[in-house]
Symmetry: C2
Subunit: 466 residues, 2 copies
């Protein structure tokens, strides 16, 4: 009935990795590296849903085998200089916490709440100190999480020069970045800042944001990147053939990369169907739950490089002929995006992609022992694992979620019910729980069991001696 | 902007408590104790909600200062001998995992799924080996979590002799325990089993379950307990005056103990009120959210002993003149029960009670260093911290939860929105996420960063050498 017999437990529990960090640091030479792996929206519900599907309820993720596990509190503030706390974050302010150590307001990239001051990111500090830096994401590389590590802007949706004067989605004006335009003395759009950045490797989606003409220029943003020394890659084949000694900008889809898994025939979570009587009173009539479904490969993923393939190239190029070391952030972005869209199979597949990235990171760390590997999330999400058979099934009335429900048939033959019910909007909200945090042996003694998100910046900076 | 300056971090991170367990065990004499503190339904959302309210988003719970933090996967099975996994648990099967190391089906106390065989609990094994054992709960002591540690029955609601032939709630027949009656060769109801148990201390609610006449007897269950050596306590004053050298059965309310905090004027989470137009289409009309509220003391808590007061008496009596040691399980039950009822203030107050119990446990462990303190939850719950201002507020349509919402004004002056939306029933469901697990210095090297719930039984048993 258990997965952990006494002998295995004893083997696990010997305190193998607790030398004092200072001694270790003095004893080891060679490059020092930080690999920060971020599962966007990867909270404990998402982790458990993925564990149950990928390895069974009694199985283990690769994450579960890491020697360090903790919890990280997320901090957000209102958008003014003496703002009160806000209890639920977005990916812009959370990435800013991790990239700069500064707590800011939702929507901001590496700028302060209210005062709108730019704050240096770990990518900027690391490259200034002679380290290389890389970013890999399954989102557009201009999306909030990757961009916060190398760009500064007041509004996350100003991803390219055409979006600076007005961001309009579904005919609704959501904001602008006029103050950040170069003509206003600013740094320009996110894509422009990335093209001009000191990054060594930048891989993900978002090709469409590099096509527009740079502000006050005749060149495309992509050409600006080339002129800044980047080799531009736009296909799986080009990625595989990328030169080892080049700085790389790879964009493998117009925007977010397609995900690996989807629901059967593209199904998402669905509303339970209520009979007429049930509309009169919720204890009357009957309710038909969505039919169970399996997860299946997403045809749109064909020809898209995996997150691991991008990570492997990033690690290769970052470490090639590099005595100093590097900082690499890898984001599995669509754990979050698929949860917003109520697609549990999609989230599961992207957590599996994160697991593969972890494999690569740990393999690299075996070659270069001075490599700190940290895995965490930026914020919690909406999905909840709820009972397939209600706790109240004995009551002869309909008992069902008011939200959207997916009933997933798992490889071990049970049905897993996933609920999305934070909003009636077409996208789910984030949630505010502290998120899981994991580390390799290098993290033991450096990462405490409970920390706040900005502490990650300081832990990474300290490890690199910045 | 951060809570963890470099010096404090360094102090936290030195690996102070990692001697090999075997050496430590050999070197230390004196009593060995296990204190297992269970927050029923205390998942990461609940912990964060309580942290934000009690200490501020940038503050720390006492839990956050414990040196060990991990995650614990919950395992449940269908009710047959070759059952498939069930992904969401109840408090009966989860307590059975912790008390016996055996995975069983929902509703069962220390009995196997399908075969219905009794399995020994850590309370029984510990007392047989000469340790004392105690249980403290803010639920009825006959409720699933406490009872699973010292009773064996197929259906958790058979709490007293009058409920063995039929359990009826709201005119609905939920089950029976005829096969467990003494006249069937069984052990009788939960209250009868507890009255006849080897427990040294049993404190909580549930007086009404000890009033009925024991099966095949002329005595009340309470009298059976007295005749088995228990001193019976029924008020805060009697608890305070309890003799140190007595075995104690204390029941301080008819059923569950009243909780410490409640919403302003008794308010719970409420449904957003939708205008007529919004019923025609969810993007039309307007929606009025529940007004913000504060938490306030619950008048019904007056005269009820705190969980800490019960724990202090339990620790005193368990350790008095005891060279061998003890096992104590303390449950803060109503983190879960208040979440079922959509009462976030109630859950916060009961998590605060758990924090006080932790203080007492750690103070005790400073006196008796061979004391393993573990804090965990049995399963996750429904409450979710959602944005007070939607991520999609820029869209000029109503964006609101389809469930129940509480907007709590926190002491730091922000508003915290808590959503309950797992079901349209009058009670929320449990959820299936892995739960947090914490330990004191004695847990370092003994409790791995990821484990499965039944492993807790083995860790506790091994610590006591059972």
């Amino acid at each position: 009935m258990t997965r952990l017999p006494a002998a295995a437990l004893a083997a696990l529990l010997t305190c193998t990795a607790c030398p004092a960090p200072a001694q270790e640091q003095a004893a080891n030479d060679g490059p020092r590296n930080v690999i920060l792996i971020v599962g966007d929206g990867m909270d404990e519900q998402q982790v458990t849903i993925a564990r149950n599907y990928l390895h069974g309820a009694g199985g283990e993720l690769h994450l579960d085998r890491l020697p360090l596990r903790g919890a990280m509190q997320i901090l957000t503030t209102e958008n003014n200089t003496s703002g009160r706390p806000v209890y639920v974050a977005d990916s812009a302010n959370t990435a800013t916490s991790m990239a700069t150590g500064v707590v800011t307001s939702r929507g901001r990239l590496a700028t302060t709440a209210g005062a709108d001051e730019d704050v240096p990111t770990i990518v900027e500090l690391a490259t200034a100190a002679g380290f290389r830096a890389g970013i890999v994401s399954s989102a557009s590389v201009t999306d909030a999480t990757p961009a916060s590590f190398a760009a500064h802007i007041s509004f996350r949706l100003c991803e390219n020069p055409d979006l600076m004067q007005e961001v309009v989605v579904s005919d609704i004006r959501l904001g602008d970045c006029v103050a950040d335009m170069k003509s206003s003395g600013g740094r320009g759009s996110i894509a422009e800042q990335l093209a001009e950045s000191s990054l060594h490797v930048l891989l993900g989606g978002g090709a469409k944001h590099f096509a527009p003409t740079a502000e006050g220029d005749t060149r495309s943003v992509k050409q600006v990147a080339r002129d800044n020394g980047f080799t531009v890659l736009e296909s799986e084949q080009e990625l595989a053939g990328a030169p080892v000694d080049a700085r790389l900008l790879g964009t493998f889809a117009p925007s977010t990369l397609p995900v690996r898994l989807r629901g059967e025939d593209g199904r998402t979570a669905e509303k339970p169907r209520r009979s007429f009587l049930n509309y009169i009173h919720r204890y009357l009539g009957s309710v038909t739950l969505p039919a169970p479904m399996r997860c299946e490969p997403n045809p749109a993923f064909e020809g898209i490089p995996s997150l691991q393939a991008m990570t492997d190239i990033a690690l290769r190029n970052l470490s090639h002929d590099n005595d100093k070391g590097f900082f690499l952030m890898v984001e599995s972005a669509s754990i979050d995006k698929q949860s917003h869209e109520r697609k549990p199979c999609g989230s599961i597949g992207e957590l599996q992609q994160l697991e593969e990235v972890l494999d690569s990171a740990l393999a690299f760390a075996r070659q270069q022992p001075n490599t700190l590997v940290i895995v965490t999330a930026d914020h919690a999400q909406a999905a909840q694992l709820i009972p397939e058979t209600s706790l109240f099934a004995a009551y002869p009335i309909p008992v069902f979620t008011p939200g959207y429900l997916a009933r997933i048939v798992t490889p071990e033959g049970s049905t897993m019910a996933v609920n999305y019910a934070t909003t009636t909007f077409f996208m789910e909200e984030h949630t505010g729980a502290a998120v899981p945090l994991y580390g390799n042996a290098e993290a033991l003694g450096r990462v405490p069991p409970f920390l706040q998100q900005p502490d990650l910046f300081r832990i990474s900076s300290d490890y690199l001696g910045l």
